[in-house]
């Protein structure tokens, strides 16, 4: 035994190591989703600054909300599909864990962690990437006007991490039902 990782990380880390494609998909979808999120938040801040004499800027709010919602829904779809596929492929392995005495909640937590690690990494990377992208886009859009610099604060970061966690929880919901309802003896025998 040359590993010193805590026991609860054993399966998620092994899964990430052996299924990099799934981890990359979840990380990339979170990265794109939260890059869009950060970008729209940053642009909205700057454009609202431009129109501060004109009161509320409702069409911009509606547009940014739409773009962010579409990005996050796409992330939810991709994450949920990746987790479902993983659980479907590994139903035999999950049955072994149940047979050994792992409770359904512990197995679901492990599946959640397997998605949460790349998901949160992608969300943070996406937010980090969104700031320079927003600055560049504003530079293109400004055409000589001086616009307030885009701002992504701790509030947006907290909201992004909370949204990521919610999306991952929603993504693990259907696979969790499958794990709870699994017949261990049937799954171990390899029958569908």
């Amino acid at each position: 035994m040359n590993t010193i990782r805590p026991g609860w990380l054993l399966l998620p880390m092994a899964s990430l190591h052996c299924r990099p494609r799934q981890a990359r998909l979840i990380c990339a979808s979170a990265l794109v989703g939260f890059c869009l999120f950060g970008l729209t938040q940053g642009l909205k801040f700057s454009l609202k600054g431009l129109s501060r004499g004109g009161g509320h800027f409702s069409p911009l709010d509606a547009l940014t909300t739409l773009v962010v919602s579409l990005g996050l829904l796409t992330m939810l779809f991709l994450t949920s599909t990746a987790i479902s596929q993983s659980v479907r492929n590994d139903i035999g392995d999950l049955a072994i864990l149940k047979a050994l005495g792992f409770s359904s909640s512990r197995i679901i937590f492990s599946v959640f962690l397997e998605a949460a690690l790349p998901g949160l990494l992608g969300a943070v990377l996406g937010l980090c990437l969104s700031h320079p992208t927003a600055v560049y886009l504003l530079h293109l859009l400004s055409r000589g006007h001086v616009l307030p610099s885009p701002h992504i604060g701790l509030g947006q970061l907290g909201l992004a991490l909370a949204l990521t966690t919610l999306i991952l929880l929603a993504g693990v919901l259907l696979p969790a039902l499958r794990i709870i309802r699994m017949n261990v003896a049937t799954a171990l025998s390899g029958q569908p």
Partner: protein, 218 residues
Amino acid sequence: MISLRKVSKIYRGAHSANKVSVLTDFDLDVDVGEFVAIMGPSGSGKTTLLNLVGGLDTPNTGQVVVADNHLEGLSSRELAIWRAHHVGFVFQSHNLIRILSAAENVELPLLLKSLPHKERARLTQEALRQVGLVERAAHRPGALSGGQQQRVGIARAIVSDPAVLLLDEPTGNLDRSTAEDILALLRHLQSGGRTVLMVTHDQDAARAATRTVHLGAV
């Protein structure tokens, strides 16, 4: 230790007419420290019997009592906790987790016992030593032969020192010499007070047991 009373198990197919009754009003008593071999033709319910005793499946009728626990009255969560603390399984088709190394597979039952890492590592090494696989600890199942995988499965079953060992064809994939080593290990565990229930087709393996139960054909 193990008591089955009038246990019946019926598997239903896709159509209601496709019913297969594998155990009917089956009774069995196994004392603490007994080593019982279960023999019988394919389809006679040997694996079903192990699944019922291990709480992986529930009977249609009858009672299954293991270590004073009425299994039919336990919820799936209670059954999981009970399995983690009382039972070690060796499955016919190894059933190792492909993405974990041999040592990590053996370590799995210890994760449920809140042991410190050093203690888990020590027990894992000890279990692998008992089955003669210390030098293959870092290998994944795909890099092990069928016999070695079976021995990893046996190490995983004994690592947490369970009171009941349930083994489905534990020597089926092993050469004669390794099979005898494994049977000697099982006898050693039995002499230490473990109760062993072993399904086998192998007459030689069955001779290692203190008693043989024959299941009839369906």
